[in-house]
């Protein structure tokens, strides 16, 4: 069996599972944020169960509209806090203690190899970076999980992405995943799992693996996953003392298909408006003028990403007429960026540094675009209206490409800046 099948077999108490089978699985952890949580809490109350199934396995995060921008958001936050109190749920990450939910789940040690984790957020697939089966569900379903700790899942077939080679300069895991999405398509992995394997995977940091797994949902995937190795185990052990089972794919595991990708052949990529699979090499769209650039989100708001951006921005000013928004993905990353002097680089370059939040990424309470504006973003979706006006255009790229483009005032291949 492959890793996804093994985790579902373990979670449903079976020896073996096959793609297409429906299993009743026990959930290890469940996460909700303040956009999906309140609906789940409402639904949970309707079910009428007096207590949640396990108060220590539920994580509640305030991240999408923080700090509250309106009374309506404040009320949602209050519902989350009140529920945590009523149910005595210790893992509530209020503002100042957490950040973007998926980053919080990983860095606070709530994601461990071999676990089945459901989150009321589509990018829950990010947790595969550490060898967990993470999948997104909706609010009502989360209410069911709150009450029972169980969920039905169809065992997905798995597409393997086999990565070999080394990264060219200015190429990052973001470019690899954009390239893969361009090949597989926005619905090419619907109901399926995506597993990343190959010699190159061991050279990719946990941060880069999160970027890869994060965007598998943009192909419709149920989860993105990577069998644990030394890199991910060292990370997990630095984050938690709790035990876990080491589960990886068997050498004779079955895959629906394999896409072999030689990373050395990948140049900086960009997903053009208005589809995540409308992917081209950056050099083909160079020159498109931009109004806003955004570095942040659960895709690319980690220290590694901020360091790359700062390398480009150090000692320079972003182009006149362009606004650059930088949002560290968590409070911890914010502090690290401060300690590494990155925030100073950003501020001096004219970037606007915001508190950890989803904010600009999903066009919620800040950083919205006006009609006719163009944004280049390190986030994961460029749908019509995602970041504000439906008449705005969004390009998705790596932090290097976003930073370079902010300096140039138009989309550029970051390799143009890499020599100086």
């Amino acid at each position: 069996m492959n890793i996804a099948e093994k985790i579902l077999a373990a979670a449903s108490g079976r020896e073996e599972v096959k793609p297409g089978e429906i299993v009743e699985a026990k959930v290890d952890m469940a996460m909700a944020n303040e956009i999906t949580g309140p609906l789940a809490i409402q639904a949970f109350k309707k079910i009428g169960a007096p207590r949640v199934w396990d108060r220590r396995r539920i994580v509640l995060v305030l991240d999408h509209q923080v700090p509250a921008d309106s009374v309506r958001s404040a009320e949602l936050h209050k519902i989350m806090r009140t529920f945590a109190k009523e149910q005595r749920i210790p893992l509530l990450y209020d503002i100042g203690y957490g950040g973007v939910c998926h980053q919080v789940m990983v860095e606070k040690g709530h994601v461990k190899p071999g676990k089945l984790i459901v989150g009321a957020d589509s990018h829950t697939c990010t947790y595969g970076a550490l060898g967990a089966f993470g999948t997104g569900i909706g609010s009502t379903e989360m209410a069911g999980v709150f009450a029972t700790g169980e969920i039905w899942l169809r065992v997905p077939s798995t597409i393997r992405i086999d990565l070999s080679g080394s990264f060219l300069t200015c190429v990052a895991p973001k470019d690899v995943i954009l390239y893969v999405i361009g090949k597989i398509g926005a619905d090419g992995a619907t109901y399926k799992a995506i597993e990343f394997t190959g010699t190159a995977i061991h050279k990719i940091s946990v941060s880069g693996r999160m970027t890869l797994c994060n965007m598998t949902v943009e192909m419709g995937a149920k989860t993105g996953i990577i069998s644990p190795d030394e890199v991910s185990l060292a990370y997990v052990e630095s984050r938690t003392d709790e035990s876990f089972m080491l589960i990886g794919s068997d050498s004779d595991a079955v895959y629906e298909k394999t896409l072999a990708v030689d990373i050395e052949k990948i140049e900086p990529q960009v997903a053009c408006p208005h589809a995540v699979d409308n992917v081209k090499p950056v050099k083909e769209v160079e020159g498109v003028e931009i109004n806003q650039a955004f570095i942040g989100s659960c895709t690319n708001g980690r220290l590694e990403d901020l360091k790359i951006a700062a390398k480009f921005l150090k000692g320079k000013k972003i182009a006149k007429g362009v606004r650059l928004i930088v949002t560290p993905a968590s409070q911890e990353i914010y502090l690290q960026a401060l300690q590494h002097g990155l925030l100073e680089v950003f501020v001096k370059s004219g970037a606007y540094v915001c508190n950890p939040t989803c904010g600009a990424c999903f066009g919620g309470h800040m950083g919205l675009l006006a009609s006719g504006e163009v944004c280049i973003s390190s986030s994961n979706r460029n749908f019509v209206g995602r970041m504000g006006s439906p008449e705005a255009e969004i390009y998705l790229a790596s932090p290097a490409t976003v930073a370079a483009s902010a300096l140039a005032g138009k989309i550029v291949d970051p390799r143009r800046f890499s020599e100086d």
Binding site: I22, I35, T36, P38, L39, Q42, A43, K46, I47, G48, A49, P50, R51, V52, W53, H64, Q65, S70, R72, S73, E75, L76, G119, A120, D121, S122, T124, G136, I137, G138, S139, T140, E141, A143, G144, A147, T148, G149, W152, A186, D187, T190, Y191, G220, K222, A275, F362, G363, G364, R381, F383, V384, G385, R386, P390
Partner: protein, 166 residues
């Protein structure tokens, strides 16, 4: 279970951000949410849908975020069923869980035009196009999903089953 209504046709990859834009996600009342259903594609949709419609769409309907506000917006705007060539999986589950019937029908778009009157028999996976006088096949739903829909959604279903805290 049978549902009928006039068809409203959309294309491929209708995502949850256009079904209900992020700025309305702070709303909790389904009726208010529904006032903005499909606003990203067609702001006149709630008006069109109010007497009951069936959405007919292409591939990957409901892709994007896990927001359950998307099927809620459609259901409370008057959508009785969504027929699409394929669905994004989280939207699909959410729709079932809140009691909005969704059926996959690989050739639906070539057989239906805007405004055609459709009748869907869920148990049989059968779509009758009364305007054109033809029958279109859809994939049948597994028994346990039909049960959730018959009960009116997951909450009612769990209540009926009598959930006990473990």
């Amino acid at each position: 279970m049978k549902v009928s209504g006039k068809a409203v046709v959309f294309g491929d990859n209708v995502n949850t951000d256009v079904i209900i834009p992020s700025k309305y996600l702070t709303l909790l009342d389904p009726v208010q949410i529904a006032q903005h259903a499909m606003e990203g594609l067609d702001p006149s949709f709630p008006e069109k849908a109010k007497n009951g419609v069936i959405i007919v769409a292409g591939r990957n309907f409901g892709c994007g975020s896990s927001r359950e506000q998307a099927p809620i917006a459609l259901k409370y705007a008057g959508v009785r069923c969504v027929l699409a060539e394929s669905f994004a999986r989280i939207f699909y589950r959410n729709a079932i869980n809140i009691g909005l019937p969704v059926l996959e029908s690989p050739h639906i778009r070539s057989e239906v035009d805007e405004g055609d009157v459709l009748t869907v028999t869920l148990e049989e996976g059968k779509v009758e196009n009364e305007t054109k006088g033809c029958v279109i096949a859809a994939l049948k739903l597994p028994r346990f999903i039909l049960e959730i829909l018959e009960d009116g959604g997951l909450i009612e279903h769990l209540k009926k089953k009598g959930v006990k805290a473990p």
